[in-house]
């Protein structure tokens, strides 16, 4: 179920600023487990699961992904492009793409062959401006199909690797949208009193913009921010968080210390594995916007370990998604049965 959801949403595109296009895919999965649905004005999707008291808990995971945008149409049917969100140009070389013009146009991002590439060039990483999309059309033909400003998404079929590992584009941060789905499902089984808002935020990759507007709209009592973190690969220190060992709980100034500790306790009580990470200041997540929304929102931040961030082969362990979703449901249940004011009081 979670895998089906992830493969489905990751086969679709939600480029920052254009999240509205594929909304149906998302609504289809969330509607059975939630009571109402609305959007903020930037295009964040807000699914509400109603409770019986007036407390509001906001879960935030961003639905948007990084993408490309056409800047120029060149002779020979090539396109120049800019990025929407941060890309490593190195990961775009040899990448297949879809241009969302008047109709969908296929393209590839090629590389100059060695005989016209100097030794000097070969040692360097590409810059975005050195890369072109080859559409195979003549310029005249192409101009009928696409315009400047059209968005471009990467092509990559989701892959099942060994065990419960899966790989696709945009697991940053749809892995966490799947966490919310799991929490919503789980809350059908265990009771909750608070109103829970599952928010698939827009435009995180271009500056946590959707989290800013959606949290203003919801005005929650607490925020649970979900994003991806760096899972251990051979080029990282040996004590880095690993895939398959549970969510990474963050500690630092952006997060509410007592709420964070409470989450750790709940996980211990119910035997959910978690990993830990210090984030002294900036987190690079929706927490940046949530924490300072209106009068302020106490937040916790959970990250799903992920390898190869911002490439078309982001890799996660489904197991992490599942236990994080379940742990959050338990956490909400425990919060409902404790004195929230007491917890939030400094």
């Amino acid at each position: 179920m979670l895998k089906e959801f992830l493969f489905d949403v990751c086969s679709n595109h939600f480029i920052s600023g254009f999240e509205y296009i594929k909304g149906d895919t998302l609504i289809k999965y969330f509607q059975p487990y939630t009571d109402s649905f609305e959007k903020d004005k930037l295009g964040s999707y807000i699914f509400k699961k109603s409770g019986i008291n007036d407390k509001k808990i906001m879960l935030a995971a961003h639905i948007d992904e990084i993408g490309l945008m056409i800047t120029r149409i060149l002779d020979g049917g090539f396109l120049s492009f800019t990025t929407v969100g941060g890309f490593n140009p190195a990961t775009l070389v040899g990448q297949e793409v879809t241009i969302h013009g008047r109709e969908k146009v296929y393209g590839v991002i090629g590389i100059k062959p060695p005989h016209v590439t100097s030794e000097e060039e070969r040692k360097k990483n590409h810059k975005i401006k050195d890369l072109f999309i080859d559409t195979g059309y003549s310029k005249e033909e192409l101009e009928k199909l696409v315009k400047i400003g059209d968005i471009i998404s990467l092509n990559r079929d989701p892959l099942s690797l060994q065990g419960s590992l899966i790989s696709a584009k945009a697991f940053d941060d749809r892995a966490c949208v799947a966490v919310m789905l799991e929490t919503a499902k789980e809350l059908n089984k265990i009771s909750h009193k608070s109103n829970v808002y599952f928010t698939a935020t827009a435009q995180e990759e271009t500056g946590t913009r959707g989290a800013k507007t959606s949290s203003y709209k919801i005005n929650p009592d607490i925020g649970i921010v979900l994003d991806v973190g760096f899972g251990k690969t051979p080029d990282m220190p040996s004590d880095s968080p690993e895939l398959g060992k549970g969510p990474i709980l963050a500690y630092g100034g952006r997060l509410n210390p007592k709420l964070t500790r409470k989450f750790a306790q709940v996980c211990k009580k119910y035997n959910y594995p978690i990993q830990h990470e210090a984030m002294p200041a900036k987190t690079g997540t929706d927490t940046e916007a949530l924490q300072v929304s209106r009068e302020g929102i106490p937040c916790i931040l959970l990250s799903i370990p992920l390898r190869y961030m911002h490439t078309s082969v982001e890799t996660i362990d489904l197991h992490d998604v599942e236990i994080t979703g379940k742990a959050i449901a338990r956490f909400i249940n425990e919060l409902d049965n404790s004195d929230l004011e007491e917890i939030l009081c400094f």
């Binding site: 070389v93 991002i109 078309s312």
Partner: protein, 340 residues
């Protein structure tokens, strides 16, 4: 056209069996005589009117990777097989070994790089294949050192008569030879599917030794750099402008009379052709023309953008031009009384 099937098979140099089995199967169904030599080349014979021995060659192998090690966490280290710019490998999907275990090529996330690292091309040693295992033992159950790795890239048709696939160099040539054999021309030639071109023209050498051709025709996918911001003189070939005739490369100075005669045949038959305006690279002609007492050899190629990457691009028009031109050259050379 056998190109879709051919390009989606794995056949990294030294491990061409999938391609070989496929081609053998097609040849059997065609009722074409063939045998496989000691290195694994397939030599097929189209019997017909004969003035001379003609060898039409294309290589079955493709560039790829080979497993060189497995680290303690189960990540796979690799080396390149054939000439690959390491910059095309970042974040690509691959198949590992005979069981075709799906994997992806990983590297350090850009967020974790220093600004110095960001500016530099990532060398092979800083990339690894991730198949989703979490320990050395787990990986070793599925993968061994020496396993070949091929790109996971589907055949796609797009734009104006273009195709994208991996291994267009040189499944294009293989596909054209199969097309030629299926025509049952009344003109004698050997269709040779060679192995290990990408690692030193190994197969062509032994095949030519056996056949002793009078005329060698090498069908290739060749470099094409007709991209924005490349100077006109550096483009080498232009996509869609016809069969590319080689004049000189790193392995061969082509017999100019032969090349001009092929150009004339193209003109007489209204087939689009162009000269390959680069002397870089090399192909099986380098081995064939020097075998025994030597053989006049020409290379007729399909321009191929982004060659040696998972996303090679070629034009169906050019493939057609190469097919038509090769056919005409064979027929022209076997005209007259049958000597055999």
């Amino acid at each position: 056209m056998f190109l879709k099937e051919l390009t989606e098979l794995a056949g990294v140099s030294g491990c061409e069996y999938e391609v070989r089995n496929y081609i053998k199967d097609i040849l059997t169904r065609m009722g074409c005589d063939y045998y496989v030599d000691k290195l694994g080349n397939i030599i097929a014979h189209n019997k017909g009117r004969k003035q001379k021995t003609i060898m039409v060659a294309a290589h079955m192998d493709e560039v790829g990777l080979i497993v060189s090690g497995i680290d303690s966490d189960g990540f796979i280290k690799f080396e390149a097989v054939g000439g690959i710019d390491p910059r095309v490998l970042n974040s690509k999907a691959v198949f590992v070994g005979e069981k075709k275990i799906p994997g992806i090529i990983g590297s350090k996330a850009i967020h974790l790089m220093t600004s110095d690292e960001k500016g530099k091309a990532l060398p092979l040693g800083k990339m690894y294949i991730d198949i989703g295992t979490s320990s050395k033992a787990e990986t070793e159950k599925l993968v061994s050192i020496g396993d070949y790795v091929s790109f996971n890239s589907k055949y796609v048709e797009f734009g104006d008569n273009l195709i994208k696939a991996k291994a267009l160099d040189d499944r294009i040539g293989c596909s054209i030879i199969l097309d030629l054999l299926s025509m049952k021309l009344d003109a004698d030639f050997y269709g040779v599917f060679t192995v290990m071109e990408e690692v030193g023209l190994r197969g062509a050498e032994t095949a030519a030794y056996r056949l002793e051709p009078d005329l060698g025709l090498v069908l290739e996918g060749t470099v094409c750099a007709d991209m924005p911001e490349v100077d006109e003189e550096d483009k080498s070939t232009l996509i869609g402008k016809g069969a590319a005739l080689s004049l000189m490369d790193n392995t061969t100075v082509y017999d100019i009379d032969l090349v001009r005669s092929i150009a004339k045949i193209a003109e007489d038959n209204n087939i689009n052709y162009q000269y390959r305006r680069s002397s870089a690279g090399g192909n099986d002609a380098g081995a064939i023309h020097k075998t025994k007492s030597g053989a006049k050899t020409a290379a007729i190629s399909v321009p191929c953008r982004y060659i040696h990457s998972p996303v090679c691009v070629a034009s169906k028009k050019d493939i057609h031009s190469v097919l038509e031109l090769t056919k005409s050259v064979i027929i022209e050379n076997q005209k007259g009384e049958d000597h055999v």
